[in-house]
Symmetry: C2
Subunit: 161 residues, 2 copies
DNA sequence: CTATCTGCAAATCTTTTGCAACGGA
DNA sequence: TCCGTTGCAAAAGATTTGCAGATAG
């Protein structure tokens, strides 16, 4: 009450003009296959996830709000959840709390430094040997990119002396 | 106000009678070296961490409260923090939020199943190869037990078909 | 037109902080 | 006695939920 109804969501085009699995049309189709609806908010959240690489819900929300200030963080949480259920997005635990979201395809191992908090990405095949060993020895099927590896980066080791 | 001052903390003996680095005396000494004080709460929290293997602050608090109901969860958080700073305890991120605490010595790799949430422990030498590779290729010094590896356990893979 | 979505407000949950009183050494 | 510690209450931050109204199809 007070303001004139719900503000319009202006869909500012970012990366969704290109063809391929990331198109607006592709998202619409994926949603429709499951009886879900295409909305500007969903497109914006997906675009933000792609643009940011890996980001917290908070960061994604901020980014979305530069294009459409009225989008609520609640919607961002709900949308990330939904995009994850339909397989377009995945989340990774980098360690200290905040999960980060990224594109499903964009898989890599995260190396997080205890000391300075920096996050480095490495190709997942780094873990191939370990994955094979785990499967043989424990029957455990590793998901190499869902959690980050933790340790100390080169820079911090030097400073630590 | 209302109750007669602060309730007494009854130190119920658990594992701290044995000699060695886990003794009451040992804890007292470690604390004193740094100008810190020995208290029943600190002993109880350390005992609980040892008894539980790896547990969340919440779980540790519950355990402590069976022996001394008056201990506040705030104290548990503060004590875990302190015990970690002085090197008696460490925390691990198992994935979905809650960090878990365990003894410093008690290091192992955690395998967490996405699907059923089960946590398995493996010896850290499982990661030796990977650690060596990371150090050579990226200068990154891996801390193998600080984060859990995530994936799907044998049981859940069967059910998944 | 109808079921799905969204925004808002409030509820939860976890962790942190300020402060006065307590108690270890 | 003195200062580190504790318990309590309240703050802070993150995520979830209920609901009325907006909107995709």
């Amino acid at each position: 009450m007070g303001t004139a109804g719900r503000p319009t969501i202006d869909v500012v085009d970012t990366s969704s003009t290109v063809d391929g699995p990331g198109t607006t049309a592709a998202l619409r189709q994926t949603l429709h296959q499951r009886g879900l609806r295409m909305t500007p908010q969903r497109q914006l959240v997906l675009d933000a996830v792609r643009a940011l690489g890996h980001a917290t819900p908070e960061q994604i929300c901020s980014r979305v709000q530069t294009a459409a200030p009225a989008v609520n963080i609640t919607t961002v949480y709900r949308t990330l959840d939904l995009l994850e259920r339909i397989g377009l997005v995945r989340h990774t635990h980098l360690g200290h709390g905040a999960p980060t979201y990224s594109e499903q395809e964009h898989q890599h191992v995260h190396l997080v430094c205890h000391s300075c908090g920096s996050v480095t990405e490495s190709p997942t095949d780094l873990m191939d040997e370990l994955a094979a060993r785990l499967l043989t020895e424990s029957g455990f099927q590793l998901d190499p990119s869902h959690v980050a590896l933790s340790g100390m980066c080169g820079n911090c080791q030097e400073e630590d002396q």
